[in-house]
Amino acid sequence: MTDKDMIICRCEEVTYGELVETANEYGCNARELKLRTRAGMGYCGGRTCRNMVDAVACTVTERDSKQVTLKYQPPVRPVHFGDLGAIGHD
């Protein structure tokens, strides 16, 4: 297996090649890189790959040290639809 085919985001199976190419082509920050490739948008919410996605983005953009590069959104753990819609649930 080459580095190009190496997986970075395990949940969405986004490869190193895709991330590096996308970063170079669009000169994008971490958020844009995530939205373009889906890296960090899978089941785990990006806990595992966020620093690597961030590192790729930092090769082409400057880090904003005062703002988390990949914003956190609720829910931070997967929630069953049944629990979301449940009536009278505590």
């Binding site: 297996m1 080459t2 580095d3 085919d5 190496m6 997986i7 970075i8 395990r10 190193y16 590096v20 919410g45 806990r47 595992t48 790959c49 620093n51 690597m52 590192a55 790729v56 090769t59 880090r63 904003d64 040290s65 005062k66 703002q67 988390v68 590069t69 914003k71 956190y72 959104q73 609720p74 829910p75 931070v76 753990r77 997967p78 929630v79 629990d83 649930h89 505590d90």
Partner: protein, 420 residues
Amino acid sequence: MADLIIIGSGPAGLSAGITAAECGLSVLILDEYLKPGGRLLGQLYEEPGGKWWNGIEETRKLEKRAAALDLDIRLGTAVSNIEKEDGLWHVYTDRETFTAPSLLLATGAAESPVAIPGWTLPGVMSVGAAQVMTNVHRVKPGSRGVIIGVSVLSSAIAMELNIAGIDVAAIALPKMNEVNKDGANPAGVMDSLLHVSHMAPSKFVQFGSKLMQNDFMKKLGITFYPKGGVKMWGIPVMLRKAVIEICGTEQVEGVILATVTTNGQVVPGSEQRIDADFVCIAGGLYPLAELIGLTGCPFHHIDELGGYVPLHNEQMETPVDGLYVAGNITGIEGAKVAMSQGVAAALSIARNFGRQGLDDILREAVEYVGETRRKAHIQFHPEVAEGRRKMQQYWEEYEAAQERIAPEEPVVEKEVLQGV
């Protein structure tokens, strides 16, 4: 309704819960894991003087104190969201929603990986995973392993695997690429290890202490670093070899090692395959800020503390009213520092709750955090004190800016929370 909800029952959360209960607050502790103790559970190392630091025992001591105070600890309870409404925190979990005026986030750290081709194969796990499997659940992660990433954490865990009778074939660097950079640079890794040489076995210290002198010597040291590695506890620590691939079809069967230059570039033709049935990935720890990231609390990226850290002061207060932090969420340090931070946070919370006469012990508790840091046996980042100084400076700048906006009224919370 509890006075205080603590998220995380690791060393920081448990210590805070105990202290807060001792101050007369009603406390609820939530944790998604099946046991209390957090990352403290897996820790096992020999301290100078020959005494063992046993995380399971330390957790048991905290649990006992918590039980004596009748602390309400809900395990297996995963928090998915937190919101603040009318001065109350609402904590949403997979079981029920809890409410309290004060919230302490002691969510600890997560592991950061290095990426190696083949790292999704079963048998590849984070180094912390191997530690928990071995010391907490007492199941061998495999019979022969390779650890990728050379750091204080990975060498400590290599030793723990060794004590449990698990063969560690090598600790080596990850292959250099855009995401592995620092951890893949032999000279850089050597430098960071030398800062903690007091905890490395004598052979490494003998080799390393000569190199501390100057950059030229360091360069020389990494140039002549033995290709077969320097052995600690019988495990070769390889600073001039990198794992370039993890092999296997259905699960790990081995790794391919290659010699690297002093800058981490692979020397063509130097590849060799070694057999292994498990691989540990050691890319370091970063503060787990996902929950506090939902509150609008400001952040600063501080390398020495392990990444993005929520703004807080030495009393463990954040700029968000009723929101506190303690432990690795504030920066990567050992369990003893986390415990002392938990105590300081709880005293702050009790004081802000109107408990009288706590000013002196809070001041002492804050001093004790610093003292614990100075005496720490393991430092994850050699410049952690500098990182703490930066955070304090950011806090002071923030406070000064707030005073300029509204000298009388604290507008912090409104302003911050609108951003959610």
